[in-house]
């Protein structure tokens, strides 16, 4: 058999192996993406939440992989509440969007799921490299007053806050530091969802602190 034919056969075999690996990788991502809290339209949402961005990278992290049970216990202690339900298990994959401007990292976007009064809430925070909130976005919320809680004016109250400000926020009693106390609920009737949004924000910041900022 001519050498070129042999080469062709070998390259065909290499292609098949590559395809096989691709199958495995796609399958793996698909299995993870099913239960995480992702942006609905990452390209559009990243550009909207980080207007100066030129690109982003997606990282999948779980408490299980990062530190297992000891890390979960630490996160629960910091949160002041136990994780419960299917979206707060140890193996929930968290999607962290690392944002770049001309190849330079400029911040992160991270979302978490939270139980609300009438359904699941998805709360995203937009963070700078120091972990300071520069944007707040509720992607999904079912409530009569969802419009007000998803309004930009409500989100603006979170800008500039860090995990240090939320450390003193008690997710059970609602007692907080002055800065968090200053966040006003625009709809008193939606107190449950307002408190859920605060708990989600604290959980979000703790997770980012453990996954990204403490590691740095």
């Amino acid at each position: 058999m001519p050498i070129s034919t042999k080469k062709w056969i070998r390259s065909a075999i290499c292609t098949e192996i590559f395809l096989m690996l691709l199958f495995v990788l796609i399958g793996h991502r698909g299995a993870w993406g099913a239960v995480g809290c992702d942006l609905n339209d990452p390209d559009r949402d990243v550009a909207r939440l980080f207007p100066e961005s030129t690109g982003y990278k997606t990282h999948y992290v779980s408490v299980d992989r990062k530190g297992g049970q000891p890390l979960l216990t630490k996160i629960e202690t910091r949160l002041g509440d136990k994780f419960h339900g299917i979206y707060e298990t140890i193996d929930v994959p968290y999607t962290i969007y690392e944002i770049f401007a001309n190849k330079k990292g400029i911040g992160y976007i991270h979302g978490v799921n939270q139980k609300g009064q009438f359904g699941g809430i998805q709360v995203f925070v937009v963070l700078d490299l120091e972990g300071r909130i520069r944007g707040f976005y509720i992607q999904k919320m079912t409530s009569r007053y969802a419009g007000k809680l998803r309004d930009a004016n409500f989100g603006k109250q979170f800008i500039g806050l860090t995990i240090k400000d939320f450390d003193l926020y008690d997710v059970i009693s609602g007692k907080a530091s002055a800065k968090v106390e200053a966040i006003k609920n625009p709809v008193p009737e939606a107190e449950t969802d307002f408190r859920a949004a605060l708990r989600a924000t604290k959980k979000n910041l703790i997770l980012m602190d453990e996954f990204v900022y403490s590691a740095q």
């Binding site: 058999m1 075999i13 098949e16 192996i17 796609i26 299917i86 359904g119 079912t142 409530s143 419009g147």
Partner: protein
């Protein structure tokens, strides 16, 4: 005494890289072939399962595109036209009908889903008849509605997880601004029911101002009834479309068959490549052992002995490659299923790639046959080597 198998095995080991690459080629071809055939039977079984899980053989809906409506139903979507409840009462009286089930599907726009909003669907059912229709439905928590017109909801497994609901929690129907108390959460079924929110039929009719109206009637026929003949009978009803789930299945299978032919072509090419690889390996091996074969013949080996020796080499390559490929297909069957689900516009729930013992044996036999066919020419060529020519060729080499 050393056997022909041992000699053949040792010969293959002489050029390990070449033999290994040929093995990989055969294994990958076997993998593609088994996965494809497994998909062939797995998809059909999963589709049948999905249709059986619906619990009825015929659906009646308002005139429109029946296939589109049926597909929407399979995917948990919504119907857009309505039929009167009286039609169901008439149908239920037919002697061929075992049971008839009323259903109302409605959708509302939820502006607070993402940036541009999303659709939330609700399925109005009569708890008593629906639980008869689907006796396999089990509750993870709670039970069916307490009455036919109460503001209660039963959630499918995934719907409850997505909304993080438990029995006793409330859900809100956006747009209509109506609250429901969650009274039951179903176990995972692997069907469209997992993502569905069920509410009482009468309540949904009231909310959407559709008194005595339905989107769909499900019909379960008595055993032994000719479905096609009864279908003809139903066509006489005014302004309704009759959809036989067997028809839906046939249509989907026809659509899938195009994709299957394409994949089968790719698999055929892969098998052809593997065949060429086997011929190449064995032919090269014969060529390199030209003189050695000549000596074997000089000391008494007959052409048939040489033929068998070379053929056994092919057999070993194909058997090991086939086993590896089938093993790979078994290990990766779930991943292949996930990939197919990812790329196909509609895939039924359940395993899409079904590899059973029969399929394994058929594939193995096919690979051995193809391999042995590939080995014919090199073995024949080796058997025809003349001893004198072979020994003389030493000078040339």
């Amino acid at each position: 005494m050393i056997t022909k198998f041992q000699v053949a095995y040792k010969n293959l080991q002489r050029k390990r890289t070449r033999s290994l690459l040929t093995l990989v080629g055969i294994a990958l071809s076997a993998w593609v072939l088994v996965s494809l055939l497994g998909f062939n039977q797995g998809y059909e079984k999963a589709l049948n399962q999905d249709i059986d899980n619906m619990g009825f053989e015929l659906m009646i809906m308002a005139k429109g595109c029946p296939y589109e409506a049926a597909t929407l139903m399979l995917k948990g979507g919504t119907g857009l036209k309505y039929i009167g409840e009286s039609i169901m009462e008439d149908i239920a009286k037919e002697p061929e009908v075992d049971k008839a089930f009323p259903m109302l599907m409605s959708a509302v726009f939820d502006p607070n889903k993402g940036q541009s909003g999303g659709i939330a669907g609700y399925f109005g059912v009569d708890a008593k008849s629906f639980s008869e229709l689907k006796p396999s439905l089990k509750f993870r928590q709670g039970k069916w509605f307490t009455s036919t017109d109460t503001y209660e909801a039963v959630m499918g497994y995934e719907a409850a997880e997505l909304e993080q609901r438990e029995v006793g929690d409330m859900i809100l129907m956006p747009e209509k601004n109506v609250e429901f108390k969650v009274v039951g959460i179903l176990e995972r079924t692997g069907t469209q029911d997992d993502g569905t929110i069920f509410v009482p039929l009468k309540t949904l009719q009231k909310i959407f101002n559709r008194p005595n109206e339905l989107t769909t009637i499900g019909i379960k026929l008595k055993k032994g009834v000719d479905s096609a003949r009864f279908e003809e009978k139903l066509y006489k009803l005014p302004d309704v479309q009759v959809v036989s789930l067997a028809q839906v299945k046939d249509t989907i299978m026809k659509l899938i068959s195009t994709a299957k032919v394409m994949v089968l072509s790719i698999a055929s090419i892969a098998i052809l490549i593997a065949m060429v690889g086997v011929i190449n390996t064995i032919l090269m091996s014969v060529h390199e052992r030209f003189q050695e074969i000549g000596i074997l013949k000089t000391i008494g080996a007959m052409p048939w002995d040489i033929f068998k020796l070379i053929w056994i080499e092919t057999l070993i390559l194909c058997a090991i490659g086939g086993i590896l490929g089938i093993g790979l297909a078994l290990i990766l069957s779930k991943v292949t299923g996930i990939l197919i689900r990812y790329v196909m516009p509609y895939a039924p729930s359940g395993g899409l790639v079904l590899i059973d013992l029969r399929l394994v044996l058929v594939t193995m036999a096919a690979i051995l046959c193809i391999g042995l066919l590939s080995g014919l020419y090199p073995a024949w060529k080796a058997g025809r080597i003349r001893p004198l020519e072979a020994i003389r060729s030493e000078v040339a080499r």
